[in-house]
Symmetry: C2
Subunit: 276 residues, 2 copies
């Protein structure tokens, strides 16, 4: 999916919601748990119910890998089920030497029909580049994440090495944003920025004004949709805000899809007010 | 596998070779490519041939994921085929928020019988901890990698934040070694250090004298076995040196397994001289 197509979807739906399919067999409604295709059936019902209210789905590969071969199969079937109107993200946090990252890009862009893969930047340029070499596909590189561990390295300060002057020494995540932005364009590169870091959003927008941000951490992790929308939206919207558990586990009973739809619709309703 | 068991294997075999199964359908011998289980059959032959000469196998998950469901199945069958005398590494470079890393740990330690998973440190403590919570299982965290991109972030210098004084400002990878070493012990935590960075090995051993290092980059990537063995071996050996392409693609013909065995035996012979 191109940037223009994504922006059109956001405008049509008045939503920048991404629904995260972190589907866990132990957390889906009891009546589905014994179904032979439980994960796929659950995902299908969630997708059918939330389709009009979101523009993207994010599949967290860990939850599928944890179920072994059956899980990988459920992931493949799920991504095939999502219509091409919706931006399909493999939240896989991959990244390895170039030769190996090329294989990961093939896995998610060729063997499966994802539009984007999340990528960890630690190993540098050759670990990210292979994901940028597909027409209409995207790398979504970790910038500042929503978890407590973000303070361990992402928020450590670097010694200036390029003569650039900043008001204070750069954080590692800021260097990542500045450096990685040179490897791609706002048409094939996004960044992950957690919703739990609202005080950083204005600064982040000064570094990467044009890129889309994938923002997890709203809902279960405590981030505020209002806060991030006010601070980080750009002229093209520039945001995909992800909610996973808050939507897909809105109810643990037979009405799970109806309740997921209701929550997704609430997000859409709130997003509409920020898009005006 | 415990550290003691691994050290015993190294002493018995007089080898610290890890054979990397980066198996690529387009690179295996032509006569196998049309086999319905080509990848598994190739791996089985390589394992049978190299078993006496190595102590570990490393499965690079990217190569299997690139083949979709069939690839994931070949990976599961391959890890089941490797005997428990050998240390089984999933070279997966995983790492995500704690909740998600727990799922990755389940994938590799429960759904599959790996002894260790390689982990990217960018997201900090909660992204690494779940891999350290299994008896006899290991996290192998990226320190300084063998690729060109290592210079983009791993070799950037950090502002001192804890009052510790060093002769020069710490590299990010040094901070990673110092910080991550506090989260685990030499009995459940190793680090990846590329063989292409020999000038850093003495320094690395001063930071983490006791941990095992997984060292890729020998062979196809150009690192020297002599160099790293002289600089980084400790009293328990403390090294797993990986060779992938140099062993498994030693010949592209029907004698591929015999040639792989010959190369593995050469490594073992050389390693024996450094272990004395």
């Amino acid at each position: 999916m191109t940037r223009q197509q994504l922006v059109e979807q956001i405008q049509q739906k008045q939503s920048y919601l991404c629904v995260g399919l972190d589907t866990d067999l132990t957390k889906i409604p009891k009546h589905l748990q014994s179904h032979p295709d439980a994960i796929y059936e659950f995902n299908k019902a969630i997708i059918d119910a939330t389709l009009p209210h979101c523009v993207s789905y994010k599949i967290n590969t860990a939850f599928y890998e944890a179920m072994g071969l059956k899980g990988w199969e459920a992931m493949e079937r799920t991504v095939n089920y999502i219509p091409d109107t919706h931006f399909k993200i493999a939240d896989a946090k991959r990244g390895d030497i170039g030769n190996t990252s090329t294989q990961y890009a093939r896995a998610f862009f060729e063997a499966m029909n994802f539009d984007a893969v999340t990528v960890a930047p630690y190993m540098g340029e050759d670990s990210v580049r292979p994901f940028l070499e597909y027409e209409g596909k995207w790398a979504i590189v970790l910038g500042l994440t929503s978890n407590k561990g973000a303070s361990d390295f992402e928020l450590k300060q670097l010694v200036s090495s390029n003569g650039e002057e900043h008001l204070r020494a750069e954080f590692l995540y800021e260097r990542v944003l500045r450096t990685v932005a040179k490897w791609g364009t706002p048409d094939n590169l996004m960044f992950v920025v957690g919703a739990t870091q609202p005080e950083e959003f204005i600064n982040i927008r000064s570094i990467i004004p044009d890129h889309f941000l994938l923002v997890p951490g709203v809902g279960a992790q405590g981030g505020s949709l209002k806060d991030i929308s006010e601070k980080a939206m750009n002229n093209d919207c520039g945001l995909l805000v992800n909610a996973s558990r808050a939507v897909i586990y809105a109810s643990g009973k037979e009405d799970f899809a109806t309740e997921a739809k209701a929550i997704a619709e609430q997000y859409q309703f709130e997003m509409k007010s920020y898009l005006c």
